[in-house]
Structures are given as structure tokens and as C-alpha cells.
């Protein structure tokens, strides 16, 4: 039976449905049982749900946790002495953030999986890398407490050479630094990385306003992170790509869907506009009654990852809504399920008696 170790050596979108099901059944059972034995909080949940962790079940029947649980509880399945860092999800001020406990093994597997998936876009060799962000300050480079943003930069940074930060600490564009970088690597394939909203806010809008642009025609951009802020500004994926092309000349653009709670096993968007499960991940779309949606039906997104060993995050119910489009048959040729993400679930107005006082702004 193929295990995670073997998967990390294979091309990232190479396992077909039936083989994947068998691999995931056994890998997920091991994970569930490992977390059951080593994370007391997880054990309480599994016991209460009356789930038997010693028996392998189909991936859709693996008990899943709502991601919100990581905001209120720090769940860890390894001794605290072997933790190497805590990954914090990004959140606006005042919001609770998730705290994810990472040991060396899980962190390494995240790194390898991310490298595998990224290689699908930029190839196997490391490329000169332009990071559309400011350099993480020394305060955030303390790797024992790391934000999702910094983790993303370091994670993708592993695949780059001559890593160059495009923005200063005030998120202003460093024109000279970028131009020097482009001159150094003229005619070479370069790897560009950034977070969707930051690219929009600190590169696309300022350059458009100034009427300036770069020509990074031979660059490949990988970007990810929430679309919520861009949706609020009525910017969709096509609009984003067009605008990025206008100001940078980049035409090879890959979006990804991912989260701090399952770092590493990101879902890459193909040229058809579909997010793809890799060999390390799977996805289920659920109705409000938690049964599985039919293909093309909207529902809550549950994400599966084989990477989380130091914390029980291998099956998570996200707060996003999506639609499964198919499996193994995307025109782009990648194997695995593919899907679209529609955004966050609606926070409906709750009826009831509540505070009448809201401080006036």
C-alpha cells in the first residue's frame, strides 16, 4: 500500500479515484487513531461521537472538526517538547485566530507537499523569486510563533532563488529593487508569489493609479488567500488576472485555495478555473444536513489532508461554500477531484433579544 512518504515522491496530481480511496482509507484511519491516542481533547470528541477510531472507514465517514475549534482550543497530538512552531491563521484585529501546533515532521511534510504542488506550475528547478510583500519583520521571523502570511512567504520561498521583496515595510513599491531584480534575471523564467488581496491593494491599484507598469512577461505568479475583500470590491478572478497582466505583463497566473489549518496541501487552480485536490488532499461538499451533495450542488466544503500529524486537522469542515465539479476528468488533465469556491457561508441575522447598545462611531 502506498503511504504518505511515497506520495511525496510522486507527481502531485497522479492518483486516480479508486486507488486514492484505498490509500486515504488507510492513511486517514492511522491519523484518526494517532490523534485519538495522543490528543486528549480529540479523544473526548471522538468518544462522545461514539466513533471507533481503530476501524478504517471511507474518507467521507472520517469524523471532521469544524475549523472554528482551532480558534478556541489549541489541539496538539505530540509532546509539547517536540513542537517547533505555532502557526496562526490571519485574522483582522479583534478576531480570534487559529493556533496550529507543528512539529518537525509535519512542518517538513507540509514543505515537501507544497514544493511538489508548486513544481506543477513552475517546474522542478528553483527559480529567481519575486515576493509581492514586505520582508517579514524580525518580530515575525521568530519561527516559534508564525502568522499564516509569514508561513506562506517562507513556505513558497523555499522554492525560490535570489528571493526579493517587492514592497518596503510600509507596503510601498520598491521600484528600484524590482527593476534591479528584473535586470539580473532578464530572459529567465521567474517565480512571483503574493497574497491575492495584497497584490490587488499594494501593486495593482497603485500602479494603475500611477500609470506605471513592469514587464515580467516571463514570470509565473502564484497567489492565494481570501477573496472576501476583493468580492467586496466586486473584483472576480478574471478581473484580477486581467488587471495583473496589465500592470506586470504576467500571463501565467495560478490561484490557490488553502488555509493555515491545513498548510502545505493547497488546492491549485488550473487554467479552467477549477481548484484541484492533489495526492495529499481531498474534498467533500456537504449539505446542511451534513449528507454529501451531488455533483454541481452547492454546499459546505470539507477538506481532507494527509499532512496533519502533530494536530488533529486531517478532516475539517470549513466555513466556505463550494461546488464539486468532477473527479479525474478535468480538461486540464490533472487527476483528483476539482471544485469551485463561492465564498464564505452567509452570516445571517440572528433573531432574538440582544444588546441594544452599540457604541456610536
Amino acid at each position: 500500500m502506498i503511504s504518505l512518504v511515497d506520495l511525496l515522491d510522486l507527481p502531485p496530481f497522479s492518483i486516480s479515484a479508486s486507488a486514492k480511496r484505498d490509500i486515504f482509507r488507510s492513511e486517514l484511519q492511522e491519523l484518526t487513531h494517532h490523534h485519538y491516542l495522543h490528543c486528549p481533547e480529540y479523544k473526548r470528541i471522538i468518544d462522545l461521537m461514539e466513533f471507533e477510531s481503530r476501524v478504517a472507514v471511507d474518507p467521507e465517514n472520517v469524523p471532521f472538526l469544524p475549523v472554528g475549534i482551532f480558534k478556541t482550543h489549541r489541539l496538539s497530538s505530540v509532546a509539547s517538547s517536540s513542537l517547533v512552531s505555532t502557526l496562526n491563521s490571519s485574522g483582522t484585529s479583534g478576531q480570534q485566530v487559529s493556533r496550529i501546533s507543528l512539529d518537525r515532521g509535519t512542518a517538513n511534510n507540509q514543505k515537501k507537499a507544497l514544493a511538489r504542488i508548486t513544481a506543477d506550475c513552475i517546474g522542478d528547478s528553483r527559480l529567481p523569486m519575486l515576493i509581492l510583500d514586505s520582508a517579514p519583520s524580525s518580530a515575525t521571523t521568530d519561527r516559534t510563533m508564525i502568522s499564516a502570511r509569514t508561513a506562506g512567504i517562507f513556505g513558497f520561498g523555499n522554492m525560490g532563488l535570489d528571493r526579493t521583496y517587492a514592497f518596503d515595510e510600509n507596503m510601498g513599491i520598491k521600484f528600484d529593487v524590482i527593476n534591479d531584480f528584473l535586470n539580473r534575471h532578464r530572459d529567465k523564467h521567474v517565480f512571483v508569489f503574493g497574497f491575492t488581496y495584497i497584490i490587488w491593494e499594494h501593486l495593482v491599484l497603485p500602479l494603475s493609479n500611477m500609470g506605471r507598469q513592469f514587464s515580467i512577461d516571463n514570470g509565473t505568479l502564484i497567489h492565494g488567500g481570501g477573496w472576501k475583500k476583493l468580492h467586496d470590491r466586486s473584483v472576480d478572478s478574471a478581473h484580477f488576472k486581467r488587471s495583473v497582466k496589465n500592470v506586470t505583463g504576467i500571463t501565467s497566473i495560478y490561484n490557490y485555495y488553502g488555509m493555515a489549518e491545513q498548510a502545505g496541501s493547497i488546492f491549485l487552480e488550473c487554467d479552467q478555473g477549477h481548484y484541484h485536490c492533489s495526492n495529499f488532499s481531498d474534498v467533500f461538499i456537504r449539505r446542511n444536513d451534513l449528507t454529501l451533495c451531488d455533483s454541481a450542488e452547492r454546499g459546505m466544503i470539507e477538506v481532507i489532508s494527509l499532512l496533519p500529524h502533530s494536530y488533529p486537522g486531517h478532516a475539517l469542515l470549513t466555513e466556505d461554500v463550494g461546488t464539486l465539479l468532477g473527479e479525474d476528468d478535468c480538461p486540464c488533465g490533472r487527476l483528483g477531484k476539482y471544485f469551485v469556491v463561492h465564498g464564505r457561508i452567509a452570516t445571517s441575522e440572528i433573531r432574538g433579544c440582544g444588546d441594544t447598545y452599540q457604541s456610536s462611531s
Binding site: 461521537m49 475549534i69 478556541t72 444536513d289 457561508i345 432574538g352 433579544c353 444588546d355 441594544t356 447598545y357
Partner: protein
Amino acid sequence: MVESQRPKSGGVVILTNRHLSYLVGGREEDNRPAPPFCDIRVEFLSALSKCISQKGHLIRHPDVLTFAFWCRKANITRLRDTFDDGRAHLGLGAVFHVSPSNVPINFAFSYVFGFLAGNSNYVRLPSHKFPQVDIISSALNAVLELPDFTSLKATTHFFRYNHEAEITAEISAKCQGRVIWGGREAIEEVRKYPIQIRGREIGFADRYSFCVLGARTLVEMSRSEMERLALGFYNDTYLMDQNACSSPHLVVWLGDLKNVLEAKARFWDCLLLVARRKYEISTKAVVDKLTLVYQSAIELREIGRVHIHNSLLFRVELEAIPDRLDLLRGNCGYFYEFTVQTLDKIAHIVNSSYQTLTYAGVNRSQLLDFVIENRLSGIDRIVPVGTALDIGVVWDGHHMIQSLSRIIEVR
């Protein structure tokens, strides 16, 4: 001060004088007290009731229709008859109502209590723009325009403002009565600003409610009786996403274990059928309920078993009573359960935050004895399952008409 008038959809006229935007009334004030249930006011509410009921499109807001039904003449005259104690009464004068920002209809009931007690009313509307507020405001405006009721125009003021302290202070200063709905913080904020020195104040704070079910009676219920009970419980809870102060969060099962087991199976089964038929659960509620149950699994040591029925109904069985049970609250179909042989076992958990005890299969005088003999600081209502959300002139332990009027002693 500059006033501008502009019509708004639904015929609501908003008068703006810099800070206050009025939906009903304006700067003209008549704060002279009137006798409770005086004829013109009863007639006025009757006209309001008809005005609202005539508009069929309002069916989409059952709470508005309930309000209109409550205001009908037959109900008000019945209340008047029970209120008549042979004494002379007169209103207080001006009453300031601070309504909750997320219960659409309570502002209207608060107003009607103040109005029937014989007061001029200043109602701060919910900051959230509920359609119910517009519907009731425009109906009020229409009725106030009728020739019979022009004398009432200066007694009714509905408005919004940004909760500036000066405005709260100014309105409070002229009022003899104040009714504040909301959480602790909200009530404390408004209380910083005094009303008149002899003024009366009622704070409707956030409350906790629970349900007592007698297992022996329940197991003997016929199928249709059980269905009726489940429907009543549904109306008490799911109808308002279990967010109303009087919606139960806890079900206390009374009886021996064998009966309780059977009663539970039948009751929850029936409730689930009702919820399946009538309740559309939001995705957000599903995620919140799952998150809460997993958090409880980790933290709540008193948990026995958990039953998750189809995401519509979550039940958390408690093996022991945790401290501050009233802080354990679920929404949208999430209930804690506990079984006792006798009610006295739970007397110690009741504190002043307890409001409504709904019951079925239990003798109500037994419940009243429970509250009085244990000298409990909480539980203001003991009402049958199905009537938790019914609002009456007695609310939270206050008789609203008596509280908002004064007695004139004559000998």
C-alpha cells in the same frame, strides 16, 4: 433648527432635526397623563389593528400580524376588565422606551404598554432597519391622521439616532418612566443618564429560560397529543432560532428513568418531525452548532451523551448539573437535558437570570410551590409549552400597566 420633510417608501415621513430621525411623531409633545385603557386609546389600537390586518401582504411577517391581533378591541377590553381594581389610575407622563436592536417586534409591544397605561411615549427604534418597524410606523401614521385621533398625535414618537449620549440624556431627563430592553451593558449605558427624580424604570435584561416535562404524563399521551406538544415546543424555540429570552435552552425531565427514557424517545422523535417539516436551518447555524458541541465535548465535564439528529436537533445530555447552567446556551435547535426525580434537586441552580419556565405533564401549582417554597430569586413566568413567546401585560415579573401608571388614592 432646520427641519426637512421627505416622504419615504411606505408613506413614512421622516422628520430630521440634525440628530433624531422620526418615523412617527416629531417635536410636538403632549406629556399630560391619561387614564389607563381610556376609550380613545382603546379605539385607536383597534383602528391600528384593523389597518395592519387589512394589508394581506404582511403575511410574510407573522410577528406583525400577532401584534395586530393582540391590539384588537376584544383583547384590549378583556385586559381592561381584569385591570379594573376599583381604584383610580393615571399614567406617569412621558415614558422613554429603549428597544432591543435585534428583536423586530418588541418595540411595538413596549410602546403599546406605555400607551395603554396612559403615557406619552418616546420610542428609540432598533438600530437595525427591520421591515416590521416600517410597517407598524406607517400604519400608526395612517391612523394618527384620522380625524378621531388627531389629539393623540403628540403622544407617540418613534425615532432613531446614533445613540449619542446627549440625546439619551435629554430624552431621559424629561421622562417619568423608562423601559430599557437589552443586555447588561446596554442597560447600564442608558442608566448613566437619570430620568426624573421620582421616575420609574424597568430593565428587561437578557434572561435564561428552561422547560420542565413530566415523563409519566408524556408516556401516556396519544400520538396527536404528543404532536401538539412538539409543535408547541417548536414554536417556543425554533421559531425565533431559540434566541428569545423566553425560549428554553434546557429540558428538565421529571420522573423515573424508565418513563423518562420512553418519553424522551417519543418527544424528540415528534419534535424532529416538526422541525423537518417547518424549519430551514442556515448553514451558519449548522457550523455553529457543530463547533459548540465539540467545544462542549472538550470542556464540559458533566456531558453524558450527545445526540445529533440530522443537524436540525442537537441534544446534550448532562449527567450532573454544572455551575452556571444558565451560561450554557445553544441556538437553532440545540438543547441541554437533565433528569431529576424531584424538582427540588434543581432549586439551587435557579438565579435571578431565570425568566420563563415552560411546562407539560406537570401540575402548575406544583411548579409555583417549587418557586415560592424554595424562595427562588428567578423564574417570573410559569407557562405551558407553546406559549413561551406570548407577550402579555405581565412581563418579566412586572405588570406593565401598573408599573407605568400611578394610583390616586381617594377616601
